[in-house]
């Protein structure tokens, strides 16, 4: 009896030890796998000189909440243009969300860049920037409220068609976080004019009809292409799942919130011809 008990005890001890080893191996395997998965997380970088960069945290949180549901992807907004360009030039398997204006600048020196997705809003892949002000805005000195980077603003103003005359030589920029801030700055007498998208100006008409009616369009830009998602040529297989994830954003609430933060409501895939010409 005692021998049987002893044997049973011995067997139990052996079983427990084996289970323990198996458990440890299992945990190690899980840790190894998760470390491996973490290592394979694909990063999508974002930099947009068309808009202010102070919303990077909310952008990252919203995109990551969407990705976390089923994708091993993270969004990394980048504040500095130089840092972003360094990341692009490294050529690692990643995707880059950028303004078309910026993409066109980079594409001439980096022929391997390939645009895969184009942002749309109300099915439109272009937008206009407007210079908006009160009728008496054209003074000797002008303060323009803007929400984009200085180089981008200068380039837009340079190619703009003006209703009457271009802004005077002595023009100062007041950088604000959002287009609506820029438009309200004119309404409240803090700036003489605002540079804002046509969409934002229309938004003001719904938001603040009285103020909207006191403003007039002083200039209009050429059509600007909306945001583009760019990758490196020959890396499509490594980033295809991330392109799919971006393309499906409009199908979930979190995805739509992320798109909305970029001023879009969907992404559309660019065909090979469109990619080569960079146009649709």
């Amino acid at each position: 009896m005692s021998s049987t008990l002893l044997q049973n005890h011995h067997a139990n001890t052996t079983l427990a030890a084996a289970t323990n080893v198996l458990l440890r191996l299992g945990v190690a395997l899980i840790l190894l796998c998760s470390a491996n998965l973490r290592a394979e997380t694909l990063t999508i970088y974002h930099y947009n000189p068309e808009s202010h960069s102070d919303r990077n945290l909310v952008l990252k949180n919203t995109f990551d909440r969407y990705f976390q549901s089923k994708y091993n992807i993270e969004l990394q907004p980048v504040e500095q243009r130089d840092t972003f360009q360094q990341l692009v030039s490294q050529g690692n398997p990643s995707l880059f969300v950028m303004s078309d204006w910026h993409y066109q600048q980079l594409a001439s020196s980096m022929p391997k860049l390939t645009p895969y997705l184009r942002g749309l809003n109300n099915k439109q892949d272009t937008f206009h920037k407007l210079l908006v002000g009160k009728p008496q805005a054209s003074t000797q000195r002008m303060t323009i409220a803007v929400s984009g980077a200085e180089a981008y603003v200068a380039s837009i103003l340079q190619e703009m068609t003006f209703t009457l005359s271009p802004p005077p030589q002595q023009t100062r920029l007041l950088t604000v976080p959002k287009d609506i801030d820029a438009l309200l700055a004119v309404s409240f007498g803090l700036a003489d004019a605002a540079l804002a998208t046509e969409d934002s100006f229309e938004k003001l008409s719904q938001l603040y009809r009285n103020e909207y009616q006191q403003l007039q369009i002083l200039g209009r830009s050429k059509p600007q292409k909306r945001l583009v998602v760019v990758g490196i040529d020959n890396q499509l297989s490594a980033v295809k799942f991330a392109l799919d994830a971006l393309e499906e954003m409009d199908q979930t609430r979190d995805g739509r919130l992320g798109l909305n933060l970029l001023g879009l409501d969907e992404w559309t895939r660019l065909s090979t011809t469109q990619r080569k010409g960079g146009q649709q």
Partner: protein, 318 residues
């Protein structure tokens, strides 16, 4: 290794000492040019530092011949003496004060120079003072109301609790609300009244409550918490002017963007140089930073305009 650590420690101590003293720092050393004096109440406070950085960036680009001298009053127990010494040593064309300590100290000395200020809660005290030009701490009430309407189009009737100090603000806000097709329901609170029944009655009559910077309504943490608790119980959203109240459970906050206030202060200095005094002694912040609590949106059964989401800077979900 120990020697390296000692060198690093010495360097660190030196940097900390430089950062903590009120010793002025100038971006160039030309003693004959008129200078701008920047007085920061405490550079260690991020919101003050953000304004200083933005101001310096704009002004350094704009005024090539102008010198900028910056002083930090953090840990300075005799700020007026420090300021007086600097004012005696240099020739200034204007002063920019960030925060109440800086503005109070400069005001105490009363130099015959234009003074520009920001991040000062009691800005109303200085708004009609000759030679003083400032950027307020809160976004214009009209702009706050426009944002409320943009985020929650179904909110039509907004309650406000106020004391007699804010009567003028309520009159202005009413005009703005009318032009936005919103109805304000202001409720005057008296010092000795039992505020709980009055608050509950107001909350039952409105779609949301707008908290203003009122010294009586927000006179203690206990009263502030009581206000938020009553609103939560009745499932009424609270809209505020400062993200501080998101911690109490506010649904939406329209805050001043501090970098923009620094840029506005720099433009005010430029205007003073080029055209003399600006037309208005005080201006509202041109930039906004928006905080939104999605959990409160759902708790209060609010209909969020998805398009407005693109303007959010801080998102909470708790």
């Amino acid at each position: 290794m120990i020697a390296v650590m000692r060198v690093l420690l010495a360097m660190f101590t030196l940097i900390v000492m430089q950062a903590c003293t009120s010793t002025p720092t100038a971006n160039t050393s030309n003693a004959h040019q008129p200078k701008i004096l920047l007085v920061n109440s405490n550079r260690a406070i991020p919101r003050y530092n953000t304004a200083e950085e933005a101001f310096t960036e704009v002004l350094t680009e704009a005024l090539e011949n102008e010198l900028l001298i910056s002083i930090n009053l953090e840990n300075d127990e005799r700020p007026t003496e420090t300021l007086q010494d600097i004012l005696n040593q240099h020739r200034f064309s204007a002063i920019y004060c960030i925060g109440a300590k800086a503005l109070g100290s400069v005001d105490y000395i009363g130099p015959a120079l234009p003074v520009v200020y920001s991040s000062v809660l009691n800005w109303r005290k200085f708004q009609n003072k000759p030679g003083y030009f400032g950027v307020t701490s809160e976004v214009a009430p009209a702009a706050q109301l426009a944002w409320f309407k943009h985020f929650f189009p179904s909110v039509k009737r907004i309650g406000i609790l106020y004391s007699e100090d804010n009567q003028a603000l309520i009159t202005d806000a009413n005009t703005s609300a009318n032009s936005l097709s919103l109805t304000l329901q202001p409720e005057l609170l008296h010092h000795k009244s039992d505020r709980k029944p009055q608050i509950s009655r107001l909350l039952n009559q409105v779609d949301a409550l707008w908290v203003l910077p009122d010294p009586l309504i927000l006179d203690s943490e206990q009263h502030t918490m009581q206000l938020f608790k009553l609103a939560h119980t009745l499932r009424k959203p609270i809209f505020t002017y400062n993200s501080f109240f998101m911690g109490f459970g506010a649904t939406l906050s329209i805050n001043a963007d501090l970098a923009t206030t620094g840029r506005q202060a720099a433009l005010l200095i430029q205007t003073l140089h080029e055209q003399g005094a600006p037309t208005s002694g005080v201006q509202f912040p041109a930039g906004s930073s928006i905080s939104l609590n999605l959990r409160k949106v759902s708790d209060n059964n609010l209909e969020l305009n998805i398009e407005a989401f693109s303007s959010v800077n801080e998102l909470l979900d708790e």
